[in-house]
């Protein structure tokens, strides 16, 4: 593929608002997970909750879109000057030439969960203030964002569980290559809700402590929430040396099981190999792997096998979910931003919470932070339904 420029990017998670707190937390090996006190949830687990989401107010004209997911989206868009960068892109290209392609798994479903507690006792109807279209519907996120910027180009919300906001990069790549648009606002937002907390708990996939990816004693995920965005454009002939480029995308399906990965990570392997092929790179060209690394016994085992099959055991890798939690449909976007930060600032983030590496996983899992040159990184995102996506990012010029 022709490399695309991530001209701007930002992320907001339990580590804080915008890039600076993420960068600091990663360098200091700090996490943002804490005991769950969300709503009325009685699951004994840790979550990565973003502080202050409830205080965010949507503009009056967009009030029907008000829900936790869109509040988090707005909070995220307004960090690091990202919204202004989008407006500059619109001024440069036109409102019809900038697409909005965002990922989410549960959108504003919390709004429906809360509305079901307020059903009319006689008729069973939902309360009159409930608005399905603008809150719960999967597309609420991209529709809100498109309206917020007054965009008039193509829009879609990708919802393929935990690969959602990785896949948006593939969709944007194709749309830019087709010449339908000049830029795409990509990324993802997922927010805490009862469906995922009780759902993953029912599958016995939720840890009772802060999650420990690739640990021999790992016992499940910690659910987080995040808003992560990037502006993708064609790269100029001479990008800045520290510019971050999208070099390849790889997508595959397990065709195996709805909620368990292929035991040998076959689909995951295909996604990584596809991304390498599209980027015209060899495994040895990759300096860091941001693992999907959810910390469930089966997910990490399958990914470990897949990474080993493609890269051998000497490519540094880590999961940053020990710090951020598993932000589900936002994870691909958030971890793309983490890879972009690692490339811009030249470091390899260590995984945290992991005490003893699982000796059965034959990969070079980083437990110590490394400040070192990094030219290219790959980010893995896998999800229910056996959906896999790998993204390769690179620095315009090696440091």
């Amino acid at each position: 593929m022709t490399p695309l420029l991530l001209s701007h990017f930002t992320a907001t998670s339990c580590l804080g608002r915008g890039l600076d707190p993420i960068l600091r937390a990663l360098r200091e090996r700090r996490g943002g997970l804490a005991a769950c006190t969300f709503d009325t949830v009685d699951v004994a687990t840790c979550v990565g909750e973003v502080a202050g989401v409830d205080a965010v107010r949507l503009p009056q004209a967009l009030a029907p879109f008000d829900c936790r997911n869109n509040r988090l989206a707005l909070l995220g868009l307004e960090q690091d000057g990202f919204a202004n960068a989008v407006r500059a892109a619109i001024a440069q290209y036109g409102a019809q030439r900038v697409a909005v392609i965002l990922g989410t798994s549960t959108s504003g479903i919390l709004q429906t969960e809360l509305a079901y507690r307020r059903r009319d006792p006689a008729s069973g109807a939902l309360p009159p203030d409930y608005n399905y279209h603008t809150t719960h519907n999967t597309h609420s996120l991209a529709a809100f964002t498109r309206r917020y910027f007054g965009l008039r180009g193509p829009a879609a919300t990708i919802s393929s569980a935990c690969s959602s906001s990785a896949r948006v990069f593939g969709s944007a790549r194709r749309m830019i290559a087709a010449g339908v648009i000049d830029a795409a606002l990509v990324g993802g937002v997922d927010s805490l809700c009862l469906t995922t907390l009780y759902g993953f708990n029912s599958l016995e996939l939720v840890s009772d402590e802060a999650c420990r990816p690739f640990d021999s004693q790992r016992n499940g995920i910690s659910i987080g929430e995040a808003a992560a965005f990037a502006l993708l454009e064609r790269a100029p002939p001479r990008p800045a040396p520290d510019a971050v480029l999208l070099l390849g995308t790889g997508e595959s399906s397990d065709a195996y099981h709805m909620s368990s990965p292929h035991p040998d990570g076959l689909g995951a392997r295909m996604a990584m190999q596809d991304a390498l092929r599209m980027a015209g790179l060899q495994p040895a060209d990759i300096g860091y792997i941001n693992l999907h690394g959810t910390a469930t016994p089966t997910n990490d085992a399958a990914e470990g096998k897949a990474v080993n099959a493609v890269f051998g055991r000497h490519t540094p890798c880590s999961s940053t979910k020990g710090a951020t939690g598993h932000t589900l449909g936002a994870a691909g976007g958030l971890e793309a931003v983490i890879c972009a930060l690692a490339l811009r600032h030249q470091f390899l983030p260590a995984g945290i919470n992991t005490r003893e590496l699982d000796p059965a996983l034959h990969v070079d899992y980083l437990l110590e932070h490394c400040e070192q040159p990094l030219a290219r990184a790959i980010s893995n995102s896998f999800g229910f339904g056996g959906t896999n996506c790998s993204l390769i990012f690179g620095r315009a010029e090696p440091a």
Partner: protein
């Protein structure tokens, strides 16, 4: 840069909806040779799924598998080789309702199967399990614009990546009380096999562009109600043009301020 022509050849069609049991059955109705008689959509049991998955499969899975298989069979292709684009306004409505009802009750222990069926891409996941398709599968929503968004994504994928792509555009109803908040006429699905180049099985070539023109409507009031009553049925004007083997432009609903102009031509 030179924009790539956004076109693809249709090699297979699958259709299921109220009063439509297949594409061959629907064709004379859309041509206007037979009257449209709406009947509740009949969803076949997906024989392709293993017994355990078959039992768990909801309406959206049955609809997706039935329409997808019809299209792929008509195209004479092996489903295992095809990447897919799954477009749906909201995924599995029955599952969503059941989960929200339990979460509002005193016992929040929702079933694990219900939970994994609740993801928007569940039907796409079952499709890949049923057919053994390990290629890429995109799952998207654009509310009422879901058919347009799916068609655009699928045509672009075929044109840019030079690969055959199966579009699966399917919607099913929510039960009450969500049905009141998001009414939908009935289950309706369209599947299209799109190929980058013309071949022996090509039915027509379509090219797609964004447009400000108004969307085409259907003359029959019941068909027009269907078009407006289910997001996937916004693709009906395209199927009507295909049924008539009629060259020319068709304008499909897409986003509130943007439509898709689809030019149909013989291959």
């Amino acid at each position: 840069m030179i924009p790539i022509a956004l076109d693809a050849c249709i090699e297979g069609i699958g259709l299921l909806g109220p009063g439509f049991s297949s594409w061959p059955h629907a064709r004379p109705i859309l041509e206007g040779k037979q009257p449209y008689q709406p009947q509740p959509t009949v969803l076949p049991t997906p024989a392709l799924l293993p017994a355990a998955e078959r039992r768990r499969s909801g309406a959206i899975v049955r609809l997706t598998l039935a329409t997808g298989l019809e299209a792929v069979t008509a195209a004479g292709l092996d489903a295992a080789t095809l990447p897919t684009v799954f477009a749906s306004s909201g995924g599995d409505g029955e599952t969503c309702h059941a989960i929200c009802e339990m979460l509002a009750s005193s016992d929040r222990r929702i079933s694990p199967t219900r939970f994994h069926n609740s993801v928007h891409n569940a039907a796409a996941g079952y499709w890949s399990i049923a057919t053994g398709a390990m290629a890429a599968s995109s799952a998207l929503s654009a509310h009422d614009a879901s058919f347009g968004a799916g068609l655009l994504e699928a045509v672009i994928q075929a044109a840019v990546d030079g690969t055959r792509t199966l579009l699966l555009a399917c919607d099913t109803r929510y039960p009450q009380p969500l049905h009141g908040a998001r009414p939908m006429l009935d289950a309706f699905g369209i599947a299209l096999v799109l190929a980058p180049q013309a071949g022996v099985r090509s039915l027509a070539r379509i090219s797609v562009a964004l447009s400000a023109a108004g969307a085409d409507t259907l003359d029959d009031p019941a068909l027009e109600r269907l078009r407006l009553g289910v997001p996937a049925a916004r693709g009906l004007p395209l199927l009507r043009a295909l049924s008539l083997s009629q060259d020319g432009p068709v304008v499909l609903d897409y986003l509130d301020d943007t439509r898709l102009a689809v030019t149909v031509a013989a291959c």
